[in-house]
């Protein structure tokens, strides 16, 4: 760490930097770009769902194989939702929450000059651009990009073209990046906390990132091994996931003896904890933002920590609730249902604690606060609809329908993305030294909220009407003959939702250069990152701070100001 205090040249400072702040910002820009790419793919999906088989002229030129003459072919539709899901999850949400906020916030909030392993940290970022390149290169392969869904279920994923191999290699690369990052976060939080920063004085965002890193470290190697086995099945003639007697397209496969469902067990053993990787950091971010703008201590800090830990542990025991109708032993389902239902309890505790934090506060509805409140409002829907899917008999019907699509978008957009917007607007002044526009920030938040609901809420009704997910042309089915109108309304809303993000982009870049100077502590916050300059200098703090207080000492009676910084001696 010590050597980084000398001032390096441009390339070492901004590109191959070992400074956690630069790496965090690199993750931020990369993931925001990928959210845009994933969003564009979603627009094409919505085009096909709104107007099945209608030509979209310019796409005939851009994707002549996928949309000849502008009319989408089914293979291309399968690629679009596969890549939309994979990009959003692996290159959008996980890197923005864990990569950007984790890197930027952990050393600043625990009072450390940098991460424990700055070079490992740089490596964890620089694995991501190649992973993105490999993933997207699938579009230029024979037969196109991966098209077996982001879940890549075997044996379909074994029978498809080379784009699927790109998917596997990209996931392997980005998984390695996650593992490196997780090791670094855990080592940093355990070893580099400033004097006085005991575990129970850490802000909830740091607790959440710490627990997320542990989950990442335990779950991601399982995904890595699973995709390696899949790769071997595809390329070297092994048969981990290939059963006897498979005849695909008239050709009998000679590989035999594998277990098809084993892929699902391995995949979900990672991918259910991954849901918590994508939501726990947001729980932490929101737990930091709500007390600040309610000017009130976080309600039940200790129970928040225990609830987060409980969710993380239970998150490892519920993976097969994605597999209730997979053909696994039905008796096995019961234990997974019980564990799934039990997760509602610590999640409920967190929710009620957030509401109790608002109770009796003096609430300032700034842009980050608006996003945090939208998170509360929409994530609630994601959580409650999860109870339907957790109940096995109801899941028999709802599984693999649009009900699931609605549920997961309320969790990952309503939860993770609004949480990310809250975090970006909250820490933007610290990252770049300037304020974002409050007015345009709120306009963006409200438009996103309205049109997000207009796209996603009708999905529950489509699911109830029996519309399966991942379906290129629902007009094939008689029982779905009447859902076209609703789908068109959703598509129009999706286009407006996407367009509204331009407000955020413009606000972001305009504020980057022209925003009002922020000063050290524009939100009058208590935690350590606000005691240093905005943006913080190399090494973060002029002198390493000493911590005397918990992270949420707002409106302490008898004080002149309504915030008591963690490092304040009195």
């Amino acid at each position: 760490m010590t050597e980084t205090h000398s001032r390096p040249g441009f390339v070492r400072r901004y590109i191959f930097s070992t400074d956690h702040k630069i790496i965090g910002i690199q993750f931020l820009f990369t993931s925001l770009t990928m959210l845009l790419v994933g969003g564009l793919l979603a627009m094409l999906i919505r085009w096909q769902l709104g107007w099945p088989g209608h030509a979209l002229g310019f796409m005939g030129t851009l994707a002549p194989n996928g949309m000849p003459g502008g009319v989408m072919v089914p293979e291309y539709y399968n690629m679009l939702f596969t890549m939309h899901g994979s990009i959003m999850i692996f290159f959008g949400i996980i890197p923005i929450l864990v990569g950007a906020f984790g890197n930027y916030l952990i050393p600043l909030k625990i009072g450390a000059p940098d991460m424990a392993f700055p070079r490992l940290n740089m490596a964890s970022y620089w694995l991501v651009p190649p992973a993105i390149a490999v993933m997207l290169s699938g579009f230029f392969m024979e037969g196109g990009a991966a098209s077996a869904g982001w879940t890549s279920y075997a044996p379909l994923s074994i029978t498809l073209g080379p784009g699927q191999t790109c998917w596997i290699v990209a996931v392997l690369l980005v998984g390695t990046s996650s593992i490196l990052g997780a090791i670094n976060y855990i080592a940093t939080i355990i070893n580099l906390r400033a004097p006085g920063m005991s575990f129970f004085r850490m802000p909830m965002s740091i607790w959440a990132l710490f627990i997320t890193a542990i989950v990442t470290l335990l779950a991601t190697p399982v995904l890595a091994s699973a995709v390696i086995l899949l790769l071997l099945d595809r390329t070297l003639g092994t048969m981990f996931f290939l059963p006897a007697g498979m005849v695909v397209d008239g050709v009998a496969w000679t590989q035999a003896g594998g277990q098809v469902i084993m892929w699902q067990h391995l995949f979900w053993f990672y991918s259910h904890p991954a849901v918590y990787i994508m939501i726990l950091p947001v729980f932490g971010i929101v737990s930091d933002i709500l007390p600040n703008f309610a000017r009130k201590p976080l309600f039940g800090y200790h129970s928040m920590v225990y609830a987060t830990s409980t969710i993380a542990v239970l998150g490892f025991l519920v993976w097969a609730h994605h597999m209730f109708v997979s053909g696994m032993n039905p008796a096995l389902g019961t234990s997974f249902m019980v564990a799934t239902m039990v997760i509602a309890v610590p999640t409920g505790v967190k929710f009620f604690n957030w509401l109790a934090t608002l109770w009796g506060g003096s609430i300032r509805l700034t842009t980050p606060m608006v996003h945090a409140c939208i998170f509360l409002a929409t994530f609630l829907i994601g959580g409650l609809t999860g109870i339907f899917l957790g109940s096995m008999p109801v899941d028999i019907y709802a599984h693999d329908t649009y009900f699931v699509v609605g549920h997961l978008h309320y969790v990952l957009f309503g939860g993770s993305l609004f949480g990310a917007f809250a975090g970006i607007t909250y820490w933007f002044p610290k990252m770049f030294g300037r304020m974002m526009s409050e007015r345009w920030g709120k306009i963006h938040a409200v438009l996103t909220f309205v049109f997000f609901n207009a796209v996603m809420f009708p999905m529950f009704f489509l699911g109830l009407a029996g519309m399966p997910r991942r379906i290129y042309d629902y007009t094939q089915y008689a029982h779905l003959a009447h859902v076209g109108g609703l789908n068109r309304m959703m598509s129009v809303s999706a286009f407006i939702l996407f367009t509204a993000q331009a407000i955020f982009v413009v606000n972001f870049f305009w504020s980057l250069f022209k925003g009002k100077p922020a000063g050290d502590n524009p939100w009058q916050s208590t935690t350590l990152e606000w005691t240093t300059a905005s943006p913080p200098p190399h090494g973060n703090f002029a002198t390493i701070p000493t911590v005397h207080h918990g992270p949420y000492e707002y409106s302490v009676p008898g004080r002149a100001t309504d915030w008591l910084p963690q490092s304040s001696p009195s």
Binding site: V260, M337, M341, A344, I363, S391, P458, S555
Partner: protein, 221 residues
Amino acid sequence: MKYWLPVAVSSYGVQVDRLFMAILWITGIIFILVEGLLLWCLIRYRRRDSRPAAYFHGNTTLELIWTVIPACIVGYLAFASQRLWAHIQGPPPPHQVEVGVKAEQFAWNVSYPGPDGRLGTPDDLTTINQLHLPVGQVVLVNLSSKDVIHSFFLPQFRLKRDAVPGITGRVWLQATATGHFEIVCAELCGLGHYRMRGFVTVESPEAFQAWVNEQLAAGQT
């Protein structure tokens, strides 16, 4: 209703719908209470310079209450779900008709026992995408796949089960009304997934038997 569950036509479909409605009521009430409380807090406790924020860190009694009550609710839901699950997915009741359904890209191969009364023998009656069921009788479906995973989804029957290569799954159903319905493939199975559609005809046992005989006769000529 247009955007709602289609009318259930299987014996356990009604029970599934009842459980669904119970969860809808419980989560609906929680939804309204929590969103209401959130809005009320945001309005009631909006910034007033004359009124400073309260200062407290928690309340053990309250936290216990909102741990125990949700635990009881989800405990009840898990219990109710388990009973119905055991009924639907447990050992099937004695069946009157046995059917084989073998999925492939992108069709449903349906087979009925031939004159020897046994499934899986050369005299089987086979159809493509045509599943006929006698109303009121318990039908056992032997579900398998030739190539990749498919999912055998009968929306009106509240029945779904993946058809997995290498495994023969067994599901049962008992239709409660005659009519024409659809088989939906609910698991992505390749480029033709969207058109992997089958047809279900539920008819009286007599009409069903007549159809079987007619098909067998047609097969022999």
